[in-house]
Symmetry: C2
Subunit: 207 residues, 2 copies
C-alpha cells in the first residue's frame, strides 16, 4: 500500500518538502491547500516560482537581485556612492534598508567563507569588491557580516585584499542589543561593548 493515494499528490508533496524548514506533514498541508485553489491560481503560483528562477537578474555593480541591469540602489544618484556596505546576502540588504540608517551603496558577497560548506573566497563576489575599492569611487567600506567564526574569517580575508588600496575599512558595532539586560549578555559581547564605548550625548542617542 503506497502512502499517498495519488502520484500527483506525492510529487507535489516531495517538491514542497524541498523548501527550507518544511517537513512531509507541512508539505502535505501545502499540497492539499493547492487543491482548494482554482486552476488559474495554481498556474499563477507555478509561473511566479518558475519566473523567479529563470528570469532573475543580479545587479552588475553590487550583485543584489533586481529586474534591470543596475539595481535601484546603485542607480539612485541621491545615495552616497563613496560608502559601500559589504553584506552576505540579499536579505541583509533588505534588513539594513529597513533600518533607514544607511544611505550608501551595498556589495552582496553571495555567501561567506565557510570551508565546512565548501565555500571558498573564489565562490564569493570579492574580486569585484576589490575593483570597486581600486577604482577610487568607494572611500569607505563597511563590513556588515555575521558575528561568527566564518564572518570573522571573511572580514579578515577582505581586509587583507583591500590593504593595498586607500579605502577606509570599518566594521559594524558589536555590543549589547537594544532592550537586552546587561546581566544576561555573554562575556565577549559585554567586553567588546565596553571597549567600543561611544560618547554619551545629552539626547541619550549615540547616532
Amino acid at each position: 500500500m503506497q502512502k499517498y493515494p495519488s502520484g500527483l499528490l506525492e510529487n507535489a508533496v516531495n517538491e514542497f518538502a524541498r523548501l527550507p524548514g518544511v517537513g512531509m506533514r507541512t508539505a502535505l498541508r501545502f499540497a492539499l491547500n493547492v487543491l482548494k485553489w482554482s486552476k488559474e491560481e495554481a498556474i499563477v503560483f507555478a509561473n511566479a516560482v518558475n519566473d523567479l528562477r529563470s528570469k532573475v537578474n543580479y545587479c552588475r555593480i553590487c550583485h543584489n537581485i533586481c529586474d534591470t541591469e543596475i539595481c535601484n540602489i546603485c542607480a539612485d544618484t541621491e545615495r552616497d556612492a563613496s560608502t559601500v556596505c559589504v553584506v552576505e546576502n540579499i536579505r541583509d540588504v533588505m534588513a539594513i534598508e529597513g533600518t533607514g540608517q544607511f544611505h550608501g551603496l551595498y556589495h552582496v558577497l553571495g555567501g561567506i567563507i565557510s570551508p565546512m560548506d565548501g565555500m571558498g573566497p573564489s565562490d564569493l563576489n570579492i574580486d569585484s569588491l576589490v575593483k570597486r575599492a581600486e577604482s577610487g569611487e568607494a572611500k569607505e567600506i563597511i563590513l556588515a557580516l555575521s558575528t561568527t567564526m566564518e564572518g570573522d574569517t571573511t572580514n579578515f580575508y577582505i581586509f587583507r585584499k583591500l590593504e593595498h588600496t586607500n579605502v577606509k575599512i570599518s566594521i559594524i558595532a558589536r555590543g549589547i542589543s537594544v532592550g537586552d539586560e546587561i546581566e544576561y549578555a555573554d562575556e565577549i559581547t559585554l567586553g567588546r561593548a565596553i571597549i567600543n564605548r561611544t560618547e554619551f550625548l545629552e539626547t541619550g542617542k549615540t547616532i
Copy 2:
C-alpha cells in the same frame, strides 16, 4: 523605496504567502531558497504544483484523490466493501490507513456542515453516500468525523438521511486518548469514556 529589490521576487513571495501558515518572512525565505536551485529544479517544482491542480482526479465511488477513475482502495477486492467509513477529507483517509486497523472502504465528504464557513449539506458528497447505502452493498457505515459541534451536526444530518435504509450506522469511539492521564481529561470525554466502556480482555487490549 519599494520593499523588495525585484518585482519577480515580490511576486514569488506573495504567492508563497498564500500557503497556509506561511507569513511574509517565511515566504521570503522560500523564495530566496528557490534562487539557490537550478533552473531545472524550479521547473520541476512549478510543474508538480500545476499538475497537481490541473490533472487531479477524484474516485468516482469514494471521492478520494487518485490518478485513475476508481481509487486503489475501492478497486482492492480484498477489502471489505460492506463497511464504509465516512470521513471529512483525504487527510483523514491517510490517517486511518496509517493505523492499519481498518480494512473496509471510505467515503470522503469533502468537508463538514459549517454554516459559519458557508458549507451546507449540498456542498458535501452526501447524496452519493445515500446511494451507496441504498444500493445494499454497504452494510455498515462508520461515522469518523471530528468531535466538534460541526462534526456532531454532520453526523446527525447523515443519520437522518440514512434512516430509511437498512444500513447499520456506527460512530468511532470517543474516550481517553492512549497515554493521557485521567485527572487531566475533560468531564465530557471522561463521562463518555465511562458510558462507552468495553469489556476488559486478559491481553489488556480492547481490539
